[in-house]
Symmetry: C2
Subunit: 126 residues, 2 copies
Amino acid sequence: MTKYEKQIYEIVNKLTSHLTADQIFSELKKIYPSVSLATVYNNLNKLCDVGLIRRVSIEGSPDRYDRISKHDHLVCRRCGKLTDVCFEDLTSTLERQLGGAFLAYDLKVFYICPACRKKEMEQTQI
Amino acid sequence: MTKYEKQIYEIVNKLTSHLTADQIFSELKKIYPSVSLATVYNNLNKLCDVGLIRRVSIEGSPDRYDRISKHDHLVCRRCGKLTDVCFEDLTSTLERQLGGAFLAYDLKVFYICPACRKKEMEQTQI
DNA sequence: ATTAAAATGAGAATCATTATAATAAAATTA
DNA sequence: TAATTTTATTATAATGATTCTCATTTTAAT
């Protein structure tokens, strides 16, 4: 594991805010000012391949990178904001149905976040 | 609804194969040879906004478009192949937890498809 | 210390998607 | 129907995220 790989892993796991490659690049430059974006992508891909971090792709915005620990995502359909949440664990159900072929699952729940609901309410009333 | 919009809707609903914008463009050109790719994107966006079709975004490949009818997706981690599947319906559970804010959910289950499993077996034995 | 292998940096290239601006088609009104 | 307005379409340029290339540097192995 190279210093960059390690540091990127740290950043993704410390800042639980689903950073994009570019945001991780910015963070990393604080520590290693000469690092390049290509290196960030290389290491993010490597870490994803090995399964140390996970990629969260949401339509219409660049991929985000997230720690592995089991949790689901709430996505606001208005503003796109991503929030961690834990719904019931589907692993055993899926394992039962798919057998050894099963690897993982990704559950995204779309909703309107409180802030956007409020905005909508205000607009409707006018 | 314009002729293009209607036809694109038809294509997405007839061919259950999760076509990309470009593939839909190819299909549409068979009927309207002069249609442009921008029109395909415009109408796909319109249809998604209205909720008549849905976009399926998978990391590392262009967005795909799919009929609305409730089903989940199996994604092979090796070859990326997408398969329709129906797991238990989570709607009521999610509605209970999120109330009126809930809109929809997207469940992707990652696995190794039979074809890729076979390949892996063969390689392991060598 | 030498060689081989892997990682990095800088920037070019790619690919999907969106924006633009001119034209064409459709809808509305008179 | 003609004139006017609105909307959709085309072709192409622009954008933005990501990957590729290749020369250089770093790391590991002999």
